[in-house]
Amino acid sequence: MPELTYLEAINAALHDEMDADPRVFCLGEDVGRQGGAFGATKGIQQKYGELRSIDTPVAEAGIAGVAIGAAMAGQRPVAEMQFGDFVSIAFDQIVTCAAKMHYRIGWAVPMVVRCPNGGGVGGGPYHSENVEAWFHHHAGLKIVCPATADDAYGLLRASIQDPNPVVFCEHKFLYRREKADVPTGADGRIVPLGKARVARTGSDLSIITYASTVRLSMAVADTLEAEGTSVEVVDLRTLVPLDREAVLASVKKTGKAMIVHEDNLTGGFGAEVAAIVAQEAFEYLDAPVTRVAAIDTPIPFTPVLEREYLPTEEDILRAARELAAY
C-alpha cells in the first residue's frame, strides 16, 4: 500500500472515480494538461482525454453553472476552484441554482465543487480563505472538510457519488503535510458523509474540530495526556450533514466542550456546534462551551501577522488547560 499525501489521495480519488463511472469529469482553470495549480488533477487529461478534463476560461460563476447544468443532464462533474477564495464568484450559482433545484422540482444536482481552502501557507487575504461557513447557512449543500489523507480520499469519493451538490473544502496546508497509507482502486475505502470520527478517545474534555485544526488538537491532547488530562478529539469530517449524535455523545461523556476551527470565530461553524451542545447537552456540561478560532479580520500575509491570525497549538493548549481546570 503506497503512502500518499493528502493531495495525492485527492488525485487518487479523482482517478478512481473517473475510472469507476464514465459520467465523472473534471473542469476548472488549468486542470487539464497542467493538472491544476496544485496538481490535484494530474494525469487525468492524459488518461481520460479533453472531454473529461476540461480547461475552462477564468470564469468561476460559469464553471459552477456549467457543472450544475451538466449534473442535471446526467453527468457527475467535479469543478475545481483554483483557490477556495474564488468560489465567492461562483457563490450565486451554488446557492441560487444548485442548492435549491432539488427542493423545488425534485431534480438532483450531483456535483462537487472542490475548494482549496485555508491559511498557513503565506497566501494572504485572497489565497487563504476558509469558505465553509459561507455555505453552511444555506440549505441544500453538503459541506465536507477532511483532516487526513485517508479521509481526503474516502470523503472525495463519497462526495462524487453523492446525489447532491457538495462543497469540498480541501485544506492546502494539509496537502503535503498529511500522509497515510491509503488503499486505492478496488481496495479504496469510501468514507460516508455525515459520520464523524473520534480521532482520539478521552474522558475529561472534548475537542470538536475539523480539517487543519484536527492535527493541532491531537498534539494538544498528547501534551495534556502527560499532564494527566484525558482529551477526546472528535473530527467532524462533514459539516453538512452534521453528526450531532457523535458530538453529543462525546460531550455527554466528558462534560466539557471546546470547538476549534481555523476559520474566523464570529459566525463560524463553531457557533452552530456550541448552540447545539448548549441546548441539547446542557445538563451534562461542567463548564461553559469554549471556542478557539481565528481572529475576526481578513487573513494577513506576512508570517508574523498570519501566525497572530491563525489559532495555534499554543492557543488551543491554553484554552484546553483552562477548560480542564474549570
Binding site: T56, P57, G65, G69, C97, R104, I105
Partner: protein, 343 residues
Amino acid sequence: MTSPARKISVVPDLPSVEVSDDLALDLYYWMTLTRAVEERALNLYRQGKLPGSYYTGRGQEAIAVGIALPLVRGEDGDWLSPWIRDLGSYLVHGVPVWRIFAQFMGKAGSTTRGKDGNLHIGGREWNIPCQVSHMADMIPLTVGAALAYKQRGEKRVAVTSFGDAATSRGDFHEGLNIAAVLEVPAVFVAENNGWGYSTPISKQTKVTDLHRKAAAYGIPAVSVDGNDVFAVYAALKASVDAAREGGGPQFVECKTYRMGGHAAHDKYESYMPMEVLAEWSDKDPIKRAEAILLEEREITEARLESIRERARDEVRQAVEQAEDDGYPDAAEAHQGVFAETAD
C-alpha cells in the same frame, strides 16, 4: 387540403426553413393557447385568486412558441430553459395547461408542488430545468447541459431564452464565452423588448443590437423580427439544426416590445411612451399570423375560429382542474432539501 410548404428565409446567413400549412397552424394554435392562458390567469390574479406577482408575456408569444416548436420534447429530448415571458415555451415543450394554473395558484399539482411560483416551472420529464429569478443564471446551466450531450455524443441541444437586461450580467458573458470555447450545442435566445423593468435598453447597454454581443464571443448570431412567428421559428429551426449537427453554439436575437408593465402590479403608464405601445399593438404577433394564414395561405376564418375555440376549451378545463386540486401538506415544507438518489 394543404398547399406546399413555404420556404422561409429569415436572414441571409441562415438556411431557409420549410413551414407547411399544418406547421403554420400549429404555431398559431400554440400562440392562441398561450394568450388564452395568460388572459385567464390575469383575471384570476385581479380577482385575488393567485398569490404572489403575475408576469405576462403578452405580445411576445411568437418568440415563446417559435423557440420551442423546433425542439425534441420529452425527458430524452432537448433541454429548454425559458424566460418569464415565455409561457408558450412551457406549453409547447409539454407542460400540461392545468399544472401551469396549479403553479400560479400554489396548488399541489404545481410543477414545484407549491415550493416555487409563477413561471418557475420545470421537471425532468420535460427536460425543463426550473428557472431561478436571478437573471442570466440559467445561461451557464444551459451550457452545462449542452456539454453533457456533447460528452456523451448525443444529438441533443440545450436552449435558453432571456431578456435584454440579462445581457448586462456576468453569467451571460461567462456562459457565452465558455460555450464558444467548448463548442457545445447550445442555442441562446435574447428577447429584446426594449425594457428591463422601468429601465430602457439605452440605459442598459450601448450595444442595443444584442446579437452583436454574441459575435464578440465568436458565436454565430442573427437578429429577427420577434413578432413574426414564422421568422422566429425559422431562425430557431436553422440554429437548432446547426447546433445539433456539431456547429457549436448559436445565438438568436428577437426584437419585440414589452406590451405592458414588468409585472401586473407595475404602473408602467408612468414611464412607457403610449404612442410607441400603440404602434407595437398594431404589430401584435397573433394578428399578424392570422393575416398571413388568411391572406397568403388561404386558410378559412372558420378553421382559425375552431382553433381559438379549442384553446378556450382547454383553458376552461385546466382552470377547473387546478381549482379542484388541493394544496400540498404543510409537512412538505420540510421535505426535498436533499436528494436520496440522482438516477
